[in-house]
Symmetry: C2
Subunit: 338 residues, 2 copies
Amino acid sequence: MTTRIGKRRANLRDVAKASGVSVATVSRVLNSPSVVSEKTLTRVQRVIEELRFTPSAAARAINSGRSRFVGALIPTLDNAIFAGFLEGLESQLAASGLSLIVATTNDDPEIEFAKAQELLNIGAEGLIISGISHSQSLEKMVERTQLPTIAISYFDPQYHLPTVGYDNRASARIAIEHLRSIGCQRIAVIHGPTLNNDRTRTRVDELHRNAGSIALEYFEADISVQSGAAKAKTILASGTRWDAILCLSDVLATGALFELLRQNIRIPEDMALMGMEDLPSSASTYPRLTSVDLQVREMGIAAASALANWIEHHERPESVKLEARLNIRQTTALRLKD
Amino acid sequence: MTTRIGKRRANLRDVAKASGVSVATVSRVLNSPSVVSEKTLTRVQRVIEELRFTPSAAARAINSGRSRFVGALIPTLDNAIFAGFLEGLESQLAASGLSLIVATTNDDPEIEFAKAQELLNIGAEGLIISGISHSQSLEKMVERTQLPTIAISYFDPQYHLPTVGYDNRASARIAIEHLRSIGCQRIAVIHGPTLNNDRTRTRVDELHRNAGSIALEYFEADISVQSGAAKAKTILASGTRWDAILCLSDVLATGALFELLRQNIRIPEDMALMGMEDLPSSASTYPRLTSVDLQVREMGIAAASALANWIEHHERPESVKLEARLNIRQTTALRLKD
DNA sequence: TGCGAAAATGTAACTGGTTACAAGTTTTTC
DNA sequence: GAAAAACTTGTAACCAGTTACATTTTCGCA
């Protein structure tokens, strides 16, 4: 007969008592059953079953000093932009036996800091943060705790933390050069919020620097298909004659694409359209969307490898640069057939 | 002078020794600084700073018995389908001081079980699982450990766990009734994988039961814009004259939409198109997509509330049914203007 | 049958915090 | 100026596991 322990969760000592063995033996049944005799093994296992005993993760962690998970702080889950990244990140972390906690920051440095602190409090072994602009408090916390932390979406070897990302300047140049090469003179740029988003700010800045004789006008929108469509409508209604709309996110470009179709504008004859990110869906739109491939899934994989290695072998990784690639498709090229 | 402790991370006892106080006092500095005298407080805090001391989350958890996070097992992060759900889930959990760990299962019950076990091992206080078909081992584990667990995407009050989701049968009926009402006789249905996905199987089954005089043909595709477009191409090339394409996911519908546009098919005159889920983007497509709103964000919020309450107050929640709503837009209605 | 080695198990210290209770100090009150 | 009250701090037990080391049991073989 086993002792019933009120409503409290049974612990290792309860199991030991109920099965008439020492705590060490119960621990062995759990972790190295091969060294326990057949007879004891089955007896203890039956008691474990009876008492519905589940070892406490915290108590285990206290001994191993490991929690086996890392936290990722990303701006939002609300659209597909981070889907590919998270997919790559999660699957690669899993390969190192690490789990992933996702927290969203809404691009607010204060929220980011608060959530980072929470992640630390619950024992995260590493952190992924987006971009290289963060609150002082966050920077200090990372510095103080020496927590392995990687900044993504922004390649910058000068940054005080390792970065894994694309060169935002280069990707902006690739975009404007391509539009220049097909003869665009006046370009409307739709981009996401610049407040607290260094990726967007940097891209916009680099477009500006490389404009040359091209006239650029900027339109800021939330990152959503709906906002992309709305901004495109504004742009079309503005009276100016634009050669192209450049969207600094494929999500925005998809929205703009729908609006152009709605207004019966021929693409690219009347208006070229270009995105950035190259979401998987962009190759299937009508017309197919030209975009700068930022390799977000690869970024996830690279970030996971770097972080796992840092945690496992205490080697601080080097920054990793993902080469942006131009994928020319129908929204900027006349001759391309299906 | 403070004692340097090799490379080992400093712990509470180190701090106590270095600042000449007891461990209790250090603990107080951390948790209730107000009861500690000014002098001691600053002294201890300086030592904490010097030794870069960070309290161990595991050691804290062992006392409180709390880990403060729950795990969500979802099929994939690869497309936008779960974005809204996760967004709702995460934000509502945060309101209860709970964090979210996301793990993907790829709709494989074995992977699902393995990841659930891992989540349990690292101390998850609750679990979200997708649908109501799971491996025996997972069911047994949940039963054994009494871990608060909620099944989403499938409302079924009979299920042995609380469910939070839409009525998959009702949503299928809503879809087919709408298409019947606009006079469709032959409908091509594009749906996601049915293997290990009870949501899809149930919807397909219910379409079948309610077909009446309508001829239905089914096309299975991976859930992606690309696959949706590819299947639509197959359907258009099949020679049969279809009245409508019904996609059991808006992601598929978006792909089909692009393919119809590509082939210059008038929507809805030549072919009606309908989706399911009602992603935020569906209201902005061209033409705007008719869809059955499954309220996935609300599902996230409801699941989070139910789970948090279960964890906090040990009350097993009731199942929650989200009412699917038909959003009629241009892809099935001639008269609707922008 | 008896001895040594191998196998199985137990004891108790340890992980890094929290906290009940006790004890020592300072401040207040009469 | 002494007793009472309030404030600080310390001691040691406790949380739920793991594990080094000691001890007991079992077994093979001369």
